[in-house]
Amino acid sequence: MQTSTADPLLSVSGLTLHRGARRILDGVDLSLGRGETLALVGESGAGKSTIAVALMGLLRPSEARIEGRAELAGEGDLFGLPERRWSGLRGGRLAMVFQDAGAALNPCFTVGSQLTSVLRRKLGLGRAAARARAVELLDSVGINDAAARLSAYPHQLSGGMQQRVMVAIALACNPDLLFADEPTSALDVTIQAQIVRLILDQTRARGASCIFVLHDLALASQSCDRIVVLYAGQVMEAGSSAEVLKAPRHPYTRLLKSCVLEIGTARLEPPAGGVPPWEEMPAGCRFASRCPRALPRCAGEKPPLTQEGGRALACWNPE
């Protein structure tokens, strides 16, 4: 896929990931410029979260087999790094906000200890300095009475508060790249927009890049610079948010978009049919079995991801 800037922060090529015999990701290409926000969009099972977790190096070799490259500026190929180097990057240059903050905060430790331990280890701050910085961070993510909250346990906070704490932890060491894995799906609708806003504002203020994992195309196009549409572990289409939403070229993107529009007319049906079971996954384009524009070759031959004017598309029969 075409790099959006001459000097990308991250460029992933041919990322293929197997869990047992299942090919969860099938040759994913992405790239991300500095300060850019990218949305990974698709139905559940598209492999969006898996991409985030794999790029954070959180998958153990026993859990998944990874092929391909992921170049992070200044580090080289992430998948070639030893575990020691990975854990140096995590919490430092790479950070992640998890889906359900209530489950992602350790119930046995206070908010303060989970926040200050990052600051002390990564930035080498002393106890008092780490505490002062922690209060600033909680304050910056909109938590009132931050000093008192440090001694609170996660269960004593509301869901929105927990996610704010999660964001504060992720931003603690000014990461270059933040992964946000459906950060709002466990929250009330009223708070969702606030949290998305918070993450975008905070990452932009720090000049950081952000990869948002979302299943909502409308939210993705509103909040992110660029969109990558995934289906069953394959990239279908990618490009700037405005262009992809305005003129989708891949039949799957069109299907996703039609779902967005149908919500307006009170039809909340998932895209027609569903992702086929792994045993019946087409060898070529994985969307072939559901595609209204499928050609005979689609199911057997995987279309290459071709670049055209800042957009990328993998389809034998685009619109």
């Binding site: 998890f98 119930p107 046995c108």
Partner: protein
């Protein structure tokens, strides 16, 4: 929080009351008339009546119970006619510390060996190491401890002469000497517990390590050892402490056999000989001591819960 603790304490007091009633009944239900035993084969009806009055046996049962309870609490536990000794001194001052030492060493050994082995199995799940630990754990639970004791005596005591095979040295007088004498008995008694703790640690930790907060801890760059030993272990403290408390009863039962095999003058051996000699007073003392110990330890476990899991603390 204080209210919750008070409730637990009251519960414990009630359990102790049941224990005391049961122990009191033990003497009442024992076959034979104690007065006849004390008077011998020839006695007059007046002497019998006088002794009955002297022992308070003509009083209602409730009064007798309260008298007995008062004596028990103040350390007047009667006299053993076989050992010809004061039961309180014999059971509480001499025998109980031996058993407590054995239990403490065994428990310590079980935790020190069992937890790391379980953690390693959980981390290296489904590897040869994990399988090996599982076999060890299964053997450990299935193997009768007295047989292991005899085996250990034969190998380390008789064959190589490395460790003493009998006798007790109080560790509060000579710690290393006490430890030296305790190694084989503690190993014998704790095999079962090591195995159990290995399995429990593995099972609970495997579940905890799959939790999002573990991935999140790794995602903020916590080093691998801290993720497992701090974030993981802290979350299995509660089941671990619970099982240790509940298994204390099994440990005390096991002490009976272990003390017999290693000739340790503890409460287990005391109860064994008292049962064989039909010394109900001593049996009663043993029952009350072990039951009380068990109940108190589990009270401690209950009271520890809010410290182990912050979610159990009232807001």
């Amino acid at each position: 929080m204080l209210l919750m603790a008070l409730k637990k304490v009251l519960q414990t007091v009630f359990v102790l009351f049941i224990v005391s009633v049961a122990s009191f009944s033990l003497l009442k239900l024992a076959p034979g008339d104690p007065v006849e035993i004390m008077l011998g084969s020839e006695y007059s009806a007046e002497a019998h009546a006088a002794l009955v009055r002297q022992l308070g046996l003509d009083q209602p049962l409730v009064t007798q119970y309260l008298d007995w309870l008062g004596n028990f609490v103040t350390g007047d536990w009667g006299t053993s006619y076989i050992a010809r000794a004061d039961i309180f001194t014999y059971a509480f001052v001499e025998a109980l510390p031996v058993t407590l030492t054995l239990a403490a060493f065994s428990l310590g050994l079980a935790v020190v060996l069992g937890v790391p082995l379980g953690v390693l199995s959980a981390v290296k799940k489904d590897t040869a190491w994990d399988a090996g630990a599982a076999v060890f754990a299964l053997t450990g639970t299935a193997f009768p401890s007295f047989f292991l004791g005899i085996l250990l005596i034969w190998v380390f005591g008789v064959k190589f002469g490395l460790f003493p095979v009998m006798g007790f040295v109080p560790p509060w007088e000579d710690f290393w000497g006490g430890l030296y004498h305790m190694i084989l008995p503690a190993l014998t008694l704790s095999t079962y517990f090591i195995a159990m703790i290995v399995r429990l640690t593995r099972a609970t930790l495997v579940e905890v390590l799959a939790q999002p907060y573990i991935a999140a801890a790794r995602a903020r760059g916590e080093p691998g050892w801290r993720v497992v030993w701090v974030h993981g272990l802290r979350n299995i403290a509660m089941p671990l402490v619970t099982i240790i408390g509940l298994q204390l009863g099994t440990l005390l039962q096991g002490a009976v056999l272990t003390e017999t095999v290693f000739s340790l003058p503890g409460a287990g051996q005391m109860i064994t000989s008292a049962v064989l000699g039909r010394e109900y007073g001593v049996v009663q003392a043993g029952v009350v001591m072990t039951a009380t110990l068990f109940v108190l330890v589990n009270l401690a476990v209950d009271l520890a819960y809010p410290f182990l899991d912050p979610r159990l603390r009232p807001r």
